[in-house]
Symmetry: D2
Subunit: 336 residues, 4 copies
Amino acid sequence: MGGVIDGLPSGLPIDLEAIQQLVDLRRPGQSTITSPRNERDRVEILSGLMNGITLGTPIGFIIRNQDQRSEDYDQLKDLYRPGHADHTWELKYGIRDHRGSGRASARETVCRVVGGAFAMQLLKCYGVQVHAWTSSIGPVYLPDALVPDLNIIYQNDVRTCHLPTAEAMRDFIESIRNAGDSCGGSITCVVNNLPAGIGEPVFGKLPALLSSAMMGINAAKAFEMGDGFDGTLMKGSEHNDVIQNKNGKTTPSTNHAGGTHGGISNGNDIVFRVGFKPVSTIAVKQTTINRAGEEISFSATGRHDPCVVPRAVPIVSSMAALVVADLMLKHRTTRL
Amino acid sequence: MGGVIDGLPSGLPIDLEAIQQLVDLRRPGQSTITSPRNERDRVEILSGLMNGITLGTPIGFIIRNQDQRSEDYDQLKDLYRPGHADHTWELKYGIRDHRGSGRASARETVCRVVGGAFAMQLLKCYGVQVHAWTSSIGPVYLPDALVPDLNIIYQNDVRTCHLPTAEAMRDFIESIRNAGDSCGGSITCVVNNLPAGIGEPVFGKLPALLSSAMMGINAAKAFEMGDGFDGTLMKGSEHNDVIQNKNGKTTPSTNHAGGTHGGISNGNDIVFRVGFKPVSTIAVKQTTINRAGEEISFSATGRHDPCVVPRAVPIVSSMAALVVADLMLKHRTTRL
Amino acid sequence: MGGVIDGLPSGLPIDLEAIQQLVDLRRPGQSTITSPRNERDRVEILSGLMNGITLGTPIGFIIRNQDQRSEDYDQLKDLYRPGHADHTWELKYGIRDHRGSGRASARETVCRVVGGAFAMQLLKCYGVQVHAWTSSIGPVYLPDALVPDLNIIYQNDVRTCHLPTAEAMRDFIESIRNAGDSCGGSITCVVNNLPAGIGEPVFGKLPALLSSAMMGINAAKAFEMGDGFDGTLMKGSEHNDVIQNKNGKTTPSTNHAGGTHGGISNGNDIVFRVGFKPVSTIAVKQTTINRAGEEISFSATGRHDPCVVPRAVPIVSSMAALVVADLMLKHRTTRL
Amino acid sequence: MGGVIDGLPSGLPIDLEAIQQLVDLRRPGQSTITSPRNERDRVEILSGLMNGITLGTPIGFIIRNQDQRSEDYDQLKDLYRPGHADHTWELKYGIRDHRGSGRASARETVCRVVGGAFAMQLLKCYGVQVHAWTSSIGPVYLPDALVPDLNIIYQNDVRTCHLPTAEAMRDFIESIRNAGDSCGGSITCVVNNLPAGIGEPVFGKLPALLSSAMMGINAAKAFEMGDGFDGTLMKGSEHNDVIQNKNGKTTPSTNHAGGTHGGISNGNDIVFRVGFKPVSTIAVKQTTINRAGEEISFSATGRHDPCVVPRAVPIVSSMAALVVADLMLKHRTTRL
């Protein structure tokens, strides 16, 4: 795996250890509820830094695969897993890499995390912070009106911000895994302290680019800003966020909109939620077809996550950081 | 208003009347539940066609404003409407056009419809069709498992596909309007007959580009493919769409995924839903601030829609057509 | 004709009269040595300005055609003019607009001038100026080591900066026109007062983007920075521009490089030259083929320029202004 | 060094040995007239291929540096070489990598050659071939009207197509090197068998993209299509390429235009020439300034090429192949 980060300003001191730490939070093998593959994702920076400072030139990086067992994937060579991109990938390209699912594998998201980790260090210079956490696993939701405890997110296996719910979520995932099945869930993400004015109408609005970034993550199926679908049930007089002038800062007093109006940040927190479908590769026996088009029976035997949500938490925050950092740089050209 | 459509292949016969018809379906003044402004949106094509055939060169078009009453907007010059982009626009650019809200106005979506109408004519050559309809207005939803009657969508004011629900939706909007308030809702969109293989991993996946296109529409706040957020409650063994081989075509038998796997169309219908917040400009009195930062009271007196959803139906289908047409052209470069 | 200027910062006061003046300098019918077509190129601004100030939103504009004589072009419908894009246009698109040559006509360059005129007003805020002039017409060159008199460029028909040479150039063009033939020439362009640091390695270098902008102008066939091809004959010890520190500004003392090193402006003047081939549409009888592939004889009867160079002078400066303005905005994102 | 090749169609068999061979032709240390640094440029492919066939996904590659001597560059840390990008790079980014000049080094062109080598294999499928050769070294030019012997280009040190001239060029370079100085020259490139219709008006014309690609190569200072600057001296009746219909193929009979009309290929050979300035880093003593702005004396002691032209030959053909391959893929979307 590897990638190129272009457009990062020069002169930014990079904490490489922090980059590696965020990447480590994504990798499998961290707990009993994620895949037991023990991928060692060591980020190797190839260019763009001198003495730990960005040069303003592209930052190339690679991450060597370590714990591959190709036999895990040999059974997949001639069949299409239900719900998986095996089939569409082959229909598109006429060829596919069945070894680890190639680029269709969620493994490519490690590069998104590396990019996001750099973006977060740029955002930090401006006081902007991005936090994401699991807000539901299957039917287990965080309590309403919870004030999230951001410090505990990465201290529990499910990456949520409320310990009692974390336990219930974990129990649910384990029961699903024991049944050889999988489950979905959702992740909430908040960008704190983003200045007003960020977002590029009409084709680069902040919610549009965020949604695109999120819906491009493997297994993501839904996105909403602020009150989202629930907001469709409200009246305008309820949903409108009243603008207040407090201590010289004009900000909406409530945040039904999720921090944007007209696609531009309004000085409030950016708040959105992403829904993930259950993992498609399961041990439960299912019907599918092989490359010859014949109906066959299939149950996955590899090491697969029963729920992608906990591992997707750093991916969501990384993609959010990339979008916000891009738009903050773009905003520099807005005014004379 | 105006725009430029670039990239449309040469040799496509264009039905200009059909373009105007789709644009007419978006304009206000069509019924008692939309804004009484009687905008005449006559599309004037400036370039790119010869004898009604595309030349392969950019198609420029303009739509002159007709029924403007600047006095409707004079009251807005020195205040920021709650929930509206007035405030963010000025924070971003340091200047804003208060006359009709300038480019922050949903009026810009007329250009999206013109573009979408051209894209639909390209798609038609390949047998691809795009349909959208209102699936909820406030708390009024279409019945579950409804087979949509596509013929009646534009024969009822709310642009839905079930007449009894259309009446209930209409009644709800009228009651909201009589209260000087506004409501939201949602739109479902289906793309029929799209070949498998459309969508560009990993940053141009079909759901990613669709979500970006939808979340860029004024008042859109939520997006989901297929079962979306509901799918987060399912198990993998339930959500997986089993691939079948029927009459030589391999297609998933169910459509929980909404027609894509791994961001690529799988041969099934593309199905997604967009949630819209209630319109922010309402007659109900609200608190806000003026440009001096002082708290003031405000109730809108202009002619505004109580619900944006019915007029957004052709916008949703237009943006979907643009995304799908772009990706179909892009797909031409995929294989040797 | 029309276009959209996107990315211009908000808050820029626009002198619309200056825009029109630059456009007028490009139009035909201005003297006996240009085409007698009397095109009235009135620029109509459709969006993006309020009270003469840029809003930060796209600036749409159109220019209506006035003095079209379609009969001038009827003879062209079924043949391909030698040296003209008639043939390639049809081979590419399978269809072409023979009326005024459609988009293959140099008439499209009026839009480049409108864009350039806006860009020049942005550059003016930073003290950057762009000047272009005719440096050769056929074999008639400006004297070596001439200090150009910028004030007289638009006071002579050939748009050069030395009156005695202007007369010789004019005489040459008239003799060519009387023979029913055409001639080429070259244009020199200088960007004054550009700060060091402008240009984006490695695929957006200043000379690369300038050359692309120039080679895209109709009839342009050659481009060189600074000493260009002559510089290939020099030794490194001669060609190297020695960096000096004068009054706190470090600038090369000579300018063989034309103002860039490594694709980035070095604080010196940007200097380049563009070569234009002779106009292809001539009254002299020539052999060509018609659409049936049969050899035919052809001599153009329309009103055509014997030399494109004088009218291309404002086009060259406009394209240079667009490139430089884009790169100056892009440079805002370079450093932390 | 490394890069990512995106957009290569799936299903293309790749000859990795041919890729390495083209890269080897660029590297220094091949003869007495190039730098004695013995860089071993082993291309390592990281992704995008399976069993030697392209997957349609990005092809990542890296080339590890081998023969670095940082002491060669230590003397450069605190001074700016005349004519070199040291100075502009630091003015732009506020920081620069003096070790091997970082990304400002011509060493980055090895990635262009890797990309070009892949592009050539795609072009080969369509029968398109790209050839480049040295056409002048300082004042030593190839004879006029020479029929190039393409087989000998890489069998002589200066990469030209006429052995007697090759010897004269080599003698000239050696005399310059012995004087501690450097020289420039030019390269001619021809694309054979390109179909008519390639090139994207009006901002992606074939000559525009070729010129941009060439002017982005280190030390390139001039570009011309076909007769180029010489063509400015011709009359239209001389320069026009008469279109003929031979064996059902309509092609211009001469090629003054260099194979394009209106920015679109016309079925003739694409012919262009690139001029390179003399190398800036020389052993001859020169004046410059250091980072403190003080005037100092400097003579380079590292291992540097006296002439960049021979090594630039595969770079020119590589960049041409990339441009042509991109435009051929883009052309697939032109017609219905």
